[in-house]
C-alpha cells in the first residue's frame, strides 16, 4: 500500500475541525450517519466540501464543487486533478522530496490528462475539475479525503485507493490532525476482522502469512507448523467449490449468497460442497443451503471487542443470556477445535485478546482492563502507550510514502445497445448489509422495506417510466423487479439499487469481476437495461 496501512488515518473527533473535505464514493449520511454528524459540524463551521459521487447525496447539495462523475472513472478524475495541481505549481515540493518516492512516474503519467481531455468521459465539466483541484490543493492545512465502497468496489479498486493516496501526498495533506486519507469502514467490525488476520495472505497485524520468520513465530505460539501453500480468497473458494477442488466450508456470520456477486453461480458452487457449515443468528440465505447450521449469539449476548473505523478497539459487553440454545461464536470454534484434537482453552475472550496482543504489534498494549472505560486506537505498541490518534505523523508506516503511477482501466463490463445503463449498488440508511437484522426491526422496516431502483428523470422519461411503478432490471446474469424512484438523484445513464432485499437481490444482477489485489467485487458498475412490467 501507499502509506503502509489500510485504515482511517485520522480520528472521528478530528473531522469537525477539517476545513476542506473531499468526499469521493461515500455517502456518510446514509452509511455512516454519526460520522456524517461530525461532517455537518464542519459544514456549520464553514468548511468547504468537494463531493464526487454519481448520486446526488446529501453533502452534494452543500458542496462548493459537486462532481457527478460516471461510475468507474475515478482514476481519470483524480489524475486530472493532479494534472491541474502540477501544471499550476500547487504541489507540496518539500513533502514530495522528503517523504515520498516514485513521484516522477506519476508526474509523467498525468502530464497529458488535462481536465479538458477527460471531461466528456468522466461526465463532468472541466472547469469544475479545475476548481476542485485548486480547493483541495491550496486552501487549507486541514484537508482530508473520505471514501468508502464507491472507491473500492471496482475491478480497479486498489488502483483507485492508491491514486487517492497520490493526490494526498502530492499536496502533503496527510499525517496531521484533521488532515489525511480516511476509508470509512462499512460493517461494524470490518477493521477488526482485517486486523485479526482473516485473509489468506495476512496473519494478525497484517503480517505476511508467507514470510518464513513470521510463520515460525506464529507456528511456535500455536504449537503447529504452518502451511506453505497459498490460500484462497472467498471468490476463489467459490470458484474452487464449483470446480470440485474445495469440499467443505465453515462460514461464520456471513451470507455469501446475498453478499457476493452473481448469486446464481454462488448457489451452484455452494451446492456442490460435501460439507457446508453455517454459523449465524438467523437462517440466512446461505444457511438455507447448509448441511449444518449452528446458532450463534448476537453482540448483546457475549463479551469481546470490536475495532471501529478510526482503529479504536472497544469493549463489547454481554447484556443478556444467549437466546435459546445459541452460543457465542468463540465458544463454538473452541469446541470444534477441541474435538479435532486441538485444544483451545480460553476461559473468556479476555484471554483471546491477550494472545492477539502477544502476536500483533498494533495491539500489543491493548487489553480488557485498559479499555474498560474508553477504547484505545491502534497502533498501541505497549501497555503504557496511549494509542494513536492519527497515522503517519512525520513518517509513513512503510517509511517513505509511495506514489503509484496507475492508468485508468475501464470497468469489466461496458454499456452497449442491449444494456445501455450502468447499474450501481450500495446501502441505505435504514438497513444493514443484506438486511437480515434491520428488516426484523419494526421501527426501521417501516421506513423502507421494499426494493427500489433510482432512475434519473431523463432516463425514466425516455422509457415512459413513472415514479413508483414497478420495473424490471435486466443484466446478462439475471433480472429483478423493483419499484422505480425517479428523481435527479441518479446521474443520467446510471441506475442505483440497494443491496438489502433477499426477494429482489441486486446480486442476481451484479458481475463476478474482482479487483486483482483485494478480490473486491465490482458492485459499483455493470451494464443493465430497464423494462416496464407488462400490463
Amino acid at each position: 500500500m501507499s502509506f503502509g496501512s489500510g485504515a482511517m488515518t485520522n480520528s472521528i473527533r478530528e473531522i469537525k475541525d477539517c476545513e476542506v473535505l473531499f468526499l469521493i464514493g461515500c455517502n456518510p449520511t446514509e452509511a455512516h450517519p454519526v460520522i456524517a454528524l461530525e461532517m455537518k459540524k464542519a459544514l456549520k463551521r464553514g468548511a468547504t466540501f468537494i463531493v464526487a459521487d454519481p448520486r446526488k447525496i446529501w453533502f452534494a447539495k452543500h458542496a462548493k464543487v459537486y462532481l457527478q462523475h460516471k461510475p468507474g472513472t475515478d482514476i481519470l478524475l483524480i489524475s486530472a486533478m493532479m494534472n491541474v495541481i502540477l501544471s499550476e505549481g500547487l504541489e507540496d515540493k518539500e513533502f514530495i522530496k522528503n517523504r515520498t518516492e516514485g513521484f516522477e512516474e506519476v508526474r509523467e503519467l498525468v502530464k497529458d490528462i488535462t481536465p479538458e481531455k477527460v471531461a466528456a468521459e468522466v461526465g463532468v465539466n472541466a472547469a469544475d475539475i479545475r476548481e476542485a483541484a485548486r480547493i483541495y490543493a491550496s486552501q487549507s492545512e486541514k484537508t482530508a479525503i473520505f471514501y468508502t465502497l464507491g472507491i473500492t468496489e471496482h475491478t480497479c479498486g486498489t488502483d483507485n485507493v492508491r491514486t487517492l493516496a497520490n493526490l494526498a501526498m502530492l499536496t502533503g495533506h496527510i499525517g496531521k490532525p484533521s488532515t489525511g486519507v480516511n476509508p470509512l469502514r462499512g460493517q461494524n467490525n470490518v477493521q477488526g476482522a482485517c486486523d485479526m488476520g482473516t485473509s489468506c495472505d495476512k496473519l494478525p497485524g497484517y503480517q505476511s502469512a508467507y514470510d518464513p520468520v513470521i510463520k515460525e513465530k506464529f507456528g511456535k505460539a500455536w504449537g503447529v507448523k504452518l502451511t506453505e501453500t497459498k490460500g484462497f480468497s472467498l471468490p476463489e473458494m467459490i470458484d474452487e467449490a464449483d470446480e470440485g477442488g474445495l469440499k467443505a466450508m465453515y462460514i461464520m456470520g456471513q451470507d455469501p449468497v446475498m453478499s457476493e456477486p452473481d448469486q446464481h453461480a454462488v448457489k451452484r458452487a455452494l451446492g456442490k460442497l460435501d460439507l457446508l457449515i453455517v454459523q449465524d443468528i438467523f437462517l440466512c440465505e446461505t444457511a438455507k443451503l447448509a448441511h449444518v447450521v449452528l446458532p450463534g449469539a448476537s453482540f448483546a449476548e457475549k463479551d469481546g471487542t470490536f475495532t471501529n473505523s478510526e482503529r479504536r478497539v472497544q469493549r463489547v459487553r454481554k447484556a443478556i443470556e444467549p437466546i435459546g440454545n445459541c452460543k457465542p461464536d468463540w465458544e463454538i470454534i473452541c469446541e470444534i477445535a477441541k474435538r479435532m484434537d486441538y485444544p483451545m482453552n480460553y476461559a473468556s475472550p479476555k484471554e483471546i485478546l491477550d494472545e492477539v496482543a502477544s502476536l500483533s504489534a498494533h495491539y500489543a498494549g491493548i487489553n480488557f482492563e485498559r479499555i474498560e472505560h474508553m477504547g484505545i486506537q491502534w497502533p498501541c505498541p505497549d501497555t503504557s502507550h496511549p494509542g494513536t490518534q492519527f497515522l503517519h505523523k512525520g513518517k509513513f508506516t512503510r517509511g517513505l510514502g509511495k506514489f503509484f503511477a496507475l492508468p485508468h482501466r475501464a470497468p469489466a463490463e461496458q454499456t452497449d445497445e442491449e444494456y445501455p445503463l450502468i447499474l450501481s449498488s450500495g446501502r441505505t440508511l435504514y438497513h444493514y448489509n443484506v438486511g437480515t437484522m434491520t428488516r426484523r426491526s419494526e421501527s426501521i422496516a417501516q421506513k423502507t422495506n421494499d426494493c427500489f431502483v433510482e432512475i434519473n428523470n431523463i432516463d425514466a422519461g425516455r422509457r415512459g417510466i413513472i415514479n413508483g411503478e414497478m420495473v424490471k432490471i435486466i443484466t446478462r446474469r439475471g433480472e429483478v423487479d423493483a419499484r422505480a424512484e425517479v428523481s435527479s438523484k441518479a446521474k443520467e445513464g446510471v441506475i442505483w439499487m440497494p443491496m438489502h432485499f433477499a426477494e429482489a437481490s441486486v446480486n442476481k444482477l451484479t458481475i463476478a469481476a474482482f479487483d486483482n489485489i483485494t478480490q473486491t467485487a465490482e458492485y459499483k458498475v455493470c451494464s443493465a437495461r430497464l423494462e416496464k412490467l407488462a400490463g
Partner: protein, 352 residues
C-alpha cells in the same frame, strides 16, 4: 487556549477563556441544574433554570449561555438563585400533567428531579394541561404534547446536529407545540427516525414507542457496549430488564459519538429478541434441516472435517470469518483454519 481566573462559590479556579459559567462550575463539581441545555447544542439560555448570581450584574444570568471573563465572581446557590429557579419550575409545572406515577420517564426526568429538589409540590398557577399522546403511525417515536415544556432541545438537535429539519415549533401562544410542519406524521416529513430528539428531551414528552410500558427507569440495567451496525462504533447502553433489551440509549460525552446515534443503533435492537433467531443447532437429514443437540452437531462436524482433511487435504477446506463478529472470534476463526485445519483458506467479508 489562554486560561483565566474566576471565582465560583468562593473558590478561585483557572479555566479556558471561552468556557461558559456552567462548564467552569462543572469542573469544580458545583451542580447547576439545566433543562434546555445539552452539551451537543449551542446554548440558548431559554429556560432560566441555570441562573446564577454574578457580582456586578443586576440580573441573574443564564450560566449555560454566559462566557466567563477574567476576575468574574459567581455564586451558584444563593437564596435569590434558589427562588428564581423555583419560580421557573412552578411555572413549568403550572400546565404539566401530574401523572408521574404512570409516566414513562418517572425516575429519569429532569423536571421531576427539579420539582423534588426545589420542593415544588403544587403550582400556584395550575391550569389543566392540554394535548396528549399524538397519533402518529411511525413505530419508533412517541410524542406527548401535554408533557412538552417547549425547551426546544428536540427542535435544536434535529436542526443543528442532524440538520434534517424535520421538526420545529408550531402554533402560537398556549397552542404552541413541536412537530413536523402541519403537524403531520414524522413519516411524512424529512425525519430519518434517528431518535436524537428522544435523547435530547429532558422530560417524558418524547419517548421510544416500542419501550413504552415495558419498564420503570430504576428497573433497567444499563450495559455499556458498542453498536453492532456500522464502522463508526458508537457507544451505546443496552437497557435490560428481565434478560430482555428494552431500549438503547446513549450518553453525552462518550467517544466517539458523544451521545449521538442513528436509527440503526437506537432502534435496531429488535433483532436480538426476534422470533426468527436460530435457537438450536441443525443438521440436514433427508433433505431437511432438523434440530439436534450441540453434542451431535459438534461430533458430526469434527468427524466430517477430519475425514475431508485426511482424504482431500487441508486445502480442500475453507473458513470464513465475519466483520460482524468480535475480534476474538475472528482471531479464533483464522487460527482454526491455520492451526487446526492447516490451510490459508481464510477470508471474511471485509470488502462489503
Amino acid at each position: 487556549m489562554a486560561k483565566i481566573a474566576i471565582t465560583i462559590n468562593d473558590k478561585t479556579i483557572k479555566v479556558e477563556e471561552d468556557s461558559t459559567i456552567l462548564w467552569a462550575a462543572n469542573t469544580i463539581g458545583a451542580q447547576i441544574p439545566t433543562l434546555c441545555h445539552d452539551f451537543r447544542l449551542k446554548p440558548v439560555g431559554a429556560c432560566r433554570v441555570c441562573v446564577v448570581e454574578v457580582k456586578g450584574e443586576e440580573r441573574l444570568v443564564s450560566s449555560c449561555a454566559t462566557k466567563v471573563w477574567a476576575g468574574m465572581v459567581v455564586q451558584t446557590d444563593t437564596e435569590r438563585v434558589h427562588n428564581a429557579r423555583k419560580a421557573v419550575i412552578e411555572l413549568l409545572l403550572s400546565n404539566h400533567p401530574t401523572d408521574c406515577m404512570t409516566c414513562e420517564v418517572c425516575g429519569n426526568c429532569t423536571l421531576q428531579d427539579l420539582a423534588h429538589k426545589y420542593d415544588v409540590r403544587e403550582s400556584r398557577y395550575y391550569a389543566k394541561p392540554t394535548g396528549g399522546i399524538k397519533e402518529d403511525r411511525n413505530r419508533a417515536i412517541q410524542f406527548d404534547s401535554s408533557k412538552c415544556i417547549l425547551c426546544g432541545r428536540c427542535v435544536r438537535i434535529c436542526n443543528e446536529v442532524q440538520q434534517d429539519e424535520a421538526i420545529n415549533f408550531i402554533g402560537r401562544g398556549f397552542d404552541m407545540t413541536i412537530g413536523p410542519a402541519f403537524n403531520d406524521s414524522l413519516l411524512d416529513s424529512s425525519c430519518v427516525l434517528c431518535g436524537q430528539c428522544v435523547s435530547a428531551c429532558p422530560v417524558g414528552a418524547l419517548v421510544e414507542k416500542q419501550a413504552a410500558g415495558k419498564a420503570r427507569a430504576w428497573e433497567l440495567e444499563k450495559v455499556h457496549t458498542v453498536c453492532g451496525y456500522c464502522g463508526v462504533g458508537c457507544n451505546i447502553f443496552l437497557n435490560v430488564k428481565d434478560d430482555k433489551v428494552v431500549k438503547v440509549t446513549s450518553e453525552v460525552g462518550t467517544v466517539p459519538n458523544d451521545g449521538n446515534l442513528c436509527i440503526k443503533g437506537r432502534f435496531g435492537k429488535d433483532m436480538v429478541h426476534h422470533p426468527d433467531r436460530l435457537k438450536e443447532p441443525m443438521i440436514r437429514k433427508n433433505g431437511n434441516l432438523e434440530e439436534v443437540t450441540w453434542d451431535e452437531a459438534f461430533d458430526y462436524i469434527a468427524d466430517k472435517l477430519q475425514k475431508i482433511k485426511d482424504e482431500d487435504g487441508p486445502d480442500s477446506i475453507g473458513c470464513i470469518a465475519s466483520s460482524r463478529c468480535t475480534n476474538e472470534e475472528d482471531y479464533l476463526m483464522q487460527k482454526f483454519a491455520r492451526a487446526v485445519i492447516g490451510t490459508n483458506n481464510i477470508d471474511e467479508c471485509a470488502r462489503t
